[in-house]
């Protein structure tokens, strides 16, 4: 099982134990799972909707749904966080089905101070704000794979299991996603 990236660390066994307790109806254990994974889910949804308030609502919905279908989790072979991402993905698809406008792309994504980012590995001519806007414009599969890989730090086998695809598929999806982002950012530059 995965530990949540960038959150307090927890072993796979601890997550297993919390999930077991939650499956048997322990709401406190479920609350602990929320503490551990809410930021990941919120971030993931936020990157995919570009709207903080909607991301907050959807995050709660994802966990409410997760509680409902938790007994089915054992039947899947994805990591718990990956399983939550699958639920998030479905909620986001529903969200887009019913929300046709995208004007929030222009005003709701957080501005940020790029100098404060300690992970600055490579000089980029694009700000994180521009990058997030570009991610939002990708097709659904590409968004999911790129966010899971670059934002949440999943490895390819994990992404493949979560998205029910082969590792080869995921490599192709990521390659296409990056190319598409490059086009979007190139157009923005022009």
């Amino acid at each position: 099982l995965l530990s949540p990236r960038n959150n307090e660390s927890i072993s796979g066994a601890e997550t297993e134990s919390l999930v077991d307790r939650a499956v048997s109806g322990d709401t406190e254990a479920f609350g602990r799972l929320f503490d551990l994974y809410a930021d990941n889910i919120y971030r993931h949804i936020y990157y995919r909707t570009g709207n903080m308030q909607d991301a907050q609502d959807l995050t709660q919905e994802v966990f409410a749904r997760a509680w409902k279908v938790l007994p089915k989790y054992r039947r899947t072979k994805t990591p718990f966080l990956g399983w939550l991402f699958t639920i998030s993905r479905n909620r986001v698809i529903d969200y887009y089905r019913t929300k046709k406008d995208h004007s929030y792309l222009n005003n709701e994504i957080l501005q940020e101070n790029s100098e404060s980012n300690p992970e600055k590995l490579i000089e980029s001519k694009f700000t994180q704000h521009e990058i997030r806007k570009a991610i939002l414009q990708l097709p659904e599969d590409q968004q999911q794979a790129i966010l899971m890989s670059f934002i949440e730090g999943f490895d390819y086998p994990e992404i493949a299991r979560t998205m029910n695809k082969t590792e080869g598929n995921i490599r192709v999806i990521i390659h296409r996603g990056l190319k598409k982002m490059r086009e979007i950012l190139g157009q923005a530059e022009d």
Binding site: A38, Q53, D54, T59, K68, D94, L178
Partner: protein, 497 residues
């Protein structure tokens, strides 16, 4: 020959792990350098922003709401259809699954005509035939055409669960869990089905219909719970489930129709407040507090609706106008409640009152805009539908408000009537083919707060008309007057139990 996809992901992995630099990686693949370089630079510049995380206080509040929600939500009892029809066979044997499924459906359909499924319809949890009843419902849902039909069926089955509970409460209360869980499943499915509807007008109408059904079911469950000797029994749980589902309905409506969402939300605030007043009058302070907590949740939702409307729509002034008509009455009711309850409950009520004052304080603009009931469209600032002028469709029949007028969409068949009515109007959750009407009256009110009742009876044969409207008025009586009577509350088409 290594393909570009593999080269790209291998380079990303090597650079991130420090095994090689960008330049080293590019040097290894001179033929791909031109394509690789911009993609690698882009890939390495995508990183998590520390700013994107839930605010701690919001996170705690969300967690509290979530846990409250999950405590009243059962984990899924039934298997998905795909699982039911897998028969333990691997996916490669899909043909066999289809064949067996078809055979079973034929058997079930035969059984339905033969009487087994029919006989099961009167079964209760714990009965031998009860699983047949549930499976029959699942099959009807499976074959229902569009999401709107599925919503209707789910409400019909939710009502069946409540009726089962009513019978069980006198015969076999320990078997009620299954019906409670089933009820939760049915009303939750409604939201999922609405989520599948892309037509905004249809979605909005359906959400309003759902909201009305939920109000009736809340009333039914709470009345049954009040009449039951069992504390925190099954109907107490179903009422809480329906209230929780109502918040979800308002949230969904808020996305595109903030003004309609604001109307429903205010009605729920009033509904909760009136129950709190009634419970305070009966000195049932725990139940009063519970209703006030629910009121508080709708109050918070009211703030979010207002914020949402400011971001995405031109309906802010109309929402503010609505709030300015309603909130003073709620604040007055809370003031009276404070005076009515023992001291240990007063600070909670004052704090809730403070939140309503905050919502009232959020009103900024004037109240000239009363009309745009269309969906929001962020691109233009106006809904894609032409703005509709509000037209009076129903006059308030209530005794507590003066000069009330209900507004509604002109295209819709009937308006709600507004007024405070007798508390014991026995509206029941109902879902009838060919006609749908429901009614609930509210009262008694402790203060001259604007009374709101709901009445919706379809006059056409199809029963598809729906209306939404808001009656309002400032009470003319002095504080503390009780006004239990007078409101008209429709019960057309809303029979039993």
């Amino acid at each position: 020959l290594e393909n570009i996809e593999n080269i790209l992901v291998n380079c990303i992995r090597d650079i991130k792990s420090g095994r090689s630099t960008l330049e080293e990686c590019l040097s290894r693949y001179p033929a791909q350098r031109q394509e690789l370089e911009p993609l690698l630079k882009l890939a390495l510049s995508i990183r998590q922003s520390p700013a994107v995380k839930l605010d701690d206080s919001y996170k705690q509040a969300t967690k509290a709401r979530l846990l409250q929600q999950v405590r009243t939500t059962s984990q899924q009892r039934s298997r998905a259809f795909s699982e039911i029809f897998s028969f333990g066979l691997p996916p490669q044997m899909a043909w066999a699954r289809v064949a067996i499924s078809a055979f079973i459906i034929v058997i079930i359909l035969s059984a339905m005509t033969g009487g087994t499924a029919y006989a099961s319809q009167s079964s209760l949890p714990g009965d031998v035939l009860y699983p047949v009843k549930l499976e029959t419902e699942d099959i009807r849902l499976f074959f229902a055409g569009d999401p709107a039909d599925k919503v209707d069926l789910n409400f019909q089955f939710a009502q069946t669960r409540l009726e089962e509970l009513k019978t069980l409460s006198s015969q076999n209360p320990e078997k009620s869990d299954q019906a409670v869980n089933g009820y939760g499943d049915n009303i939750e499915s409604v939201s999922r089905e609405v989520g599948r509807i892309t037509d905004t007008a249809m979605r909005s109408d359906l959400l309003e219909r759902i909201s009305r059904e939920l109000v009736n079911q809340i009333k039914f469950s709470e009345t049954a719970s009040d009449n039951s000797s069992e504390e925190n029994g099954a109907f107490h749980t179903t009422a809480k489930m329906a209230v929780a589902q109502q918040t979800e309905t308002v949230k969904m409506l808020m996305q595109q129709y903030p003004l309609r969402a604001a109307e429903l939300n205010l009605k729920m605030m009033e509904n909760r407040l009136q129950r709190a007043s009634a419970k305070a009058g009966e000195q049932q302070y725990q139940l009063m507090q519970e209703s006030l907590t629910q009121y508080q949740q709708f109050n918070e939702l009211g703030q979010r609706i207002l914020e949402k409307s400011r971001i995405v729509s031109s309906q802010t002034a109309a929402i503010e106008n609505l709030n300015s008509q309603k909130l003073p009455g709620y604040i007055a009711t809370l003031t009276n409640l404070v005076q009515q309850v023992p001291q240990e409950y007063q600070s909670t009520i004052k704090s809730i009152q403070q939140q309503t004052l905050q919502l009232q304080g959020q009103m900024r603009s004037g109240s000239s805009d009363r009309g745009n009931y269309g969906p929001v469209n962020q691109d233009s600032g106006n809904g894609p539908e032409p703005a509709q002028s509000p037209q009076p469709t129903a006059q308030d029949g209530g005794s507590s408000g003066v000069g009330n007028q209900a507004t509604g969409t002109p295209s819709q068949g009937n308006g709600e009537q507004s007024g405070s009515g007798a508390q014991n109007t026995s509206a029941s959750p109902s879902q009838q083919a060919g006609g749908n009407g429901s009614g609930s009256g509210t009262g008694p009110t402790v203060t001259p707060s604007p009374g709101v009742g709901e009445g919706n009876g379809s006059s056409g044969e199809s029963g598809s008309g729906s209306g939404s409207g808001t009656g309002s008025g400032s009470g003319s009586g002095g504080s503390g007057s009780t006004s239990p009577a007078g409101g008209s509350s429709g019960t057309k088409g809303g029979p039993k139990p």
